[in-house]
Every structure is written in C-alpha cells, then in structure tokens.
C-alpha cells in the first residue's frame, strides 16, 4: 500500500454532458462525494442514473465536463496517469481477453504496471492462488465460468496493490454462490487496507458490504450516509413502526414505485 490522504475519493460539482444529434444529455449533474480511506463505499442507483458514468470519470476513462475529482489525493483531470497508478478497476462487464490464459493476463497486467517479467509472473501466481484459480490459471479465459471471470477480473485489478479499488456492479449476473465468493473477496481486500468504491443494483449487497453509501438518481446524489442512518432517517420521517429495509430507502430516495420503474429513466451509455 502506498501512503494515501485520509480522503480516498473526493468529487465536487462533477458534471458529465454528452452532445449528440438529439441535443445535449446531462448524465451526471453536479455530484459531490467524499469517501474516506479504508471505507467500503456503496454507490447505488437505478439503471441510467449516472453510476457508471461517475465511476468512469473517477477512473480516468471518461472526460469530466465540469467540476473536480481527486482520487488518492490526485486531481483526476490534471494527472490521470498518476491516478491510474493508484487505482484498481473492475468494470461492469469483466474486461478480459478471452484468448489469453488467466496467468498470461495477470502477468501482462503486472508488466504494464512496470514490474519485471519475473516479478509479474510471481505476482500472477500469488493472485491466482488468492482468488482460487490456480488450477485454471493456464487455461484460456474463454472457457471460464462467469464467477471465475469475475474473480480473475478482481485479481487483475489488484496486481499493483492499489489504494482505491473501483468495482462497477461486480456481482451482476452471478449465481448466489459466486456472489458470496466475490463478497468475501471484497471484505478481504478491504481488510487489507484498500478503499473500495462499489456500485451495485443489489441493495442486500450494499447492506452487507458497505460502511457508507450514496444513492444517485437522475444524475444527482439524493441520499448519503451509513445504511443504518439512512434506515433510521426514513423510519423517523415516515413514523414507521418497523425498521425499513434498504429497499425502502432506495424506493423512497428515487421515487420509484410500481408505477415508475427503472425503464422510465433515460438510459445514457458512455
């Protein structure tokens, strides 16, 4: 681990606009965020709310239209390469090369982060053991199951021991057993000192894993706090007898009901 400031991720007035033939679409409309070092921070929202767009800006993959963002204390727009050295990224679809073996992919990743061939090979072996893919390590990735690909993707994001790990919907499409395995990995990674910034649509996942979370809707942050504090706030505000669930918090924050489902929201892709 490198030394980091106490703030792992900080965004102020973050805006992303896309221009197109149909006019300008504002996918993210002034997001403010603060994630402390060592936290597991959950970033929730319905489809098209701006989760992935925000993550892509924070991870240098997308230009920032307005506002500022600092990750591991470094300005994302001013020094993206320095940010890339301090973050690990596992995006929505496991970004893997199906023609390589798991070992080759991890070794290549190590080499791209400046390791010698020997050090990269050693790190690849270590990570394969860590995510329980030792036996499959020399098989081509195209033959891996969804859960194996997710674990390998996680491992590839850890090659350089990042300060901040961005996980964009890491368990989408996984069966329950694979999901639990990924949760265990996230807990273990965080226990080792890495800040985790996690987007998810699964509220149970956020409840299980996150120290704090923010809910984004229509490009704006509509709730932020610990899961318990958000539930307490809803119970007090609505004067409920029983503890609400995070689902209730989410529905209240986003105004979703059975009459207004995610499909009503304009999808924006990067």
């Amino acid at each position: 681990m490198n030394d980091v400031t106490t703030v792992a991720v900080e965004a102020e007035g973050l805006v992303k606009q896309y221009g197109g033939r149909g006019g300008t679409v504002e996918a993210v409309r002034g997001v403010d965020l603060r994630v402390e070092a060592g936290e597991v921070f959950g970033f929730l929202g319905p489809n098209g709310a701006g989760k992935s767009t925000t993550v892509r800006m924070l991870t240098t993959l997308l230009s920032i239209t307005a506002g500022t963002a600092r990750v591991a204390g470094i300005d994302v727009a001013a020094d993206p390469d320095a940010v890339r050295r301090r973050i690990g990224v596992a995006l929505q679809e496991a970004g893997l090369d199906p023609r390589q073996t798991g070992r080759e992919l991890l070794t290549l990743q190590g080499r791209l982060f400046g390791m010698s061939p020997r050090a990269a090979a050693a790190r690849a072996a270590e990570l394969l053991a860590l995510v329980d893919l030792e036996e499959a390590g020399d098989r081509r990735i195209k033959g891996y199951s969804g859960g194996m690909k997710r674990r390998l993707d996680l491992a590839s994001a850890l090659v350089h021991e990042p300060d901040v790990l961005f996980l964009d919907e890491p368990t989408t499409g996984l069966d329950p057993a694979s999901r639990l395995t990924v949760w265990d990995e996230v807990r273990r990674i965080n226990a080792a000192g890495t800040t985790v910034f996690l987007t998810t649509q699964y509220l149970e996942e956020a409840d299980q894993l996150c120290d704090r979370l923010a809910i984004i809707d229509d490009g704006r942050i509509v709730r932020e706090g610990t899961p318990q504090r958000l539930k307490d706030e809803l119970r007090e505000r609505l004067d409920l007898d029983a503890d609400p669930t995070l689902d209730d918090v989410f529905l209240d924050a986003t105004g979703r009901t059975r009459g207004r489902v995610a499909g009503d929201v304009q999808e924006v892709s990067a």
């Binding site: 390469d81 890339r84 990224v89 995006l91 970004g95 893997l96 023609r99 390589q100 791209l112 590839s156």
Partner: protein, 251 residues
C-alpha cells in the same frame, strides 16, 4: 517502448491463437495470384513482353498479392473485440501510454506481415519467380510489404476507435479494393488509358506497387524503390499521429 513490446507480444499471441483469422490473409492473395496469372498470362508472353524483364506474368502480379495480403487489417478487428469486450478499458485504466497501446498492435501487424509476405514470396520462388534484386531486394520486398500493412491497419484502427463497430471497420477495409485497382495492376503505368494513368499517378499505392515490382523484376533500381518507401514512411507517420490523437481523445 517496453509497454509497446509487451502489448505487441500479446497481440501476436492473439493472432497466433486465431488461425481462422490469419489463414485467409495468406490464401486469398495466393488465390488472386493464380487466377490473375491464369487469365492474363497468355496475353503477356515472357519472351515478347519487355516489361516482364524475362520473367513470367506471375512475377508481375506478385506485388498485387503482397499488397492484398498486407491489407486485411485484422488487428483493427481484434481492437474492436477488445473495445466491445471491455478489455480496452482495462488497458486505458492502467498507466499505459496511449502511444504504446496503438504501437503494440502496429508492431504485431508488422511482424505478422513479415511472416505472411515471406511465405508468399517463398511460394513464388518455388513456382519459378525470381527476385532479380537479390537477397537485399528480398528483404526490402518483405519490409516494404510489412510497412504497408502498418499503414493500412493504422487507417483501420482509426475507424475502429471512432466507430467502435466491427461492421463499420470491416466495411472501411474495402476501401483497399479501389486503391488496388486504380494502380498499374495488370500492366505498367505507361500502358494505361490516360484517365487511368492519371488516377494511378495520384494513388499512393501505385508507388508501393511499382517499388515492389521493381525489386522483383529488376536489379536494385533505387529511383523506383525509394518512392515506395517514401509513401509508406509518410503515410505511416500520418497514421501513427492520427491514431495517437484519436486514442488521447477517446472518451
């Protein structure tokens, strides 16, 4: 530069593990060579056709096949697969220079083109074609073909990065066919009709083809060879600059 080599090595492995994408780049040019020679060889008998310099018509047609082999641009299609599969973002999220990402694929394309061009020329030798410019000419022939492959895949990579679409990238590759046929493909430039001669003179591929042809049919004639290398060097520099620019602006 080491990152470019590492990525180039990965791109070569990718090509090696996808023979179904690589083999047509060898067999289709050979097919055209056989067909073109079969259709036109009797019109141009070696004994009475001065522009053949004593060789068969196959020697005259070999450059077209080499250029075709170098103009498949499969690396650009692999790039689209990387983009669609998310691996491209994985690379972009790593501290890898944008130039290295582009150069890695171009290096791999050059190596693949060297292998394929060598195979085609060696097959030509087996069937009686001679490289009149000798061993140095052989090397120049292969190097020039490989440099053209870099130019062409550079063009296709720009389309891939701008459109992120396999269909659009594939279609863009078809631009090579008008470029190939607006050249002294079947006869030397001075035997073309005037409009075709003007079109061929304006077409940069003509100078690459004439350089390749000169290396096969004649001793080293530098005034024929140099323009071909000048074209690939200038176009290669332009394509590299455009690729890096598009990569840096990729959002």
């Amino acid at each position: 530069m080491s990152q470019a080599w590492v990525l180039g090595h990965r791109a070569l492995r990718e090509g090696w593990r996808t023979p179904e994408a690589l083999l047509p780049t060898l067999f289709i040019p050979l097919f055209f060579l056989v067909v073109n020679v079969g259709q036109a060889a009797k019109i141009f008998p070696s004994a009475s056709t001065s522009f053949l310099h004593g060789q068969g018509y196959g020697a005259f047609q070999l450059p077209s096949s080499l250029l075709l082999a170098a103009s498949f641009g499969t690396a650009a299609l692999f790039l689209v697969e990387d983009i669609e599969g998310g691996y491209f973002d994985k690379l972009r999220a790593a501290p890898v220079s944008r130039t290295a990402i582009v150069l890695g694929r171009l290096i791999a394309e050059a190596v693949k083109a060297v292998v394929i061009a060598t195979a085609i020329v060696v097959l030509g030798l087996v069937f009686g074609i001679e490289i009149a410019s000798g061993p140095l000419g052989f090397v120049l022939l292969v190097v020039l073909t490989a440099l053209w492959a870099v130019v062409f895949v550079g063009f296709m990579q720009i389309i891939a990065l701008k459109t992120r679409s396999a269909a659009a990238t594939n279609s863009a590759g078809l631009v090579f066919f008008p470029l190939l046929f607006l050249t002294p493909n079947f006869v030397p430039r001075d035997l073309l009709t005037r409009p075709m001669e003007i079109a061929a003179t304006l077409n940069p591929v003509t100078y690459v083809m004439e350089a390749l042809r000169s290396l096969i049919l004649q001793d080293l004639v530098w005034e024929d060879v140099v323009p071909g290398f000048a074209v690939v060097v200038v176009l290669g520099a332009v394509m590299l600059a455009l690729n890096v620019r598009v990569m840096r602006r990729y959002d």
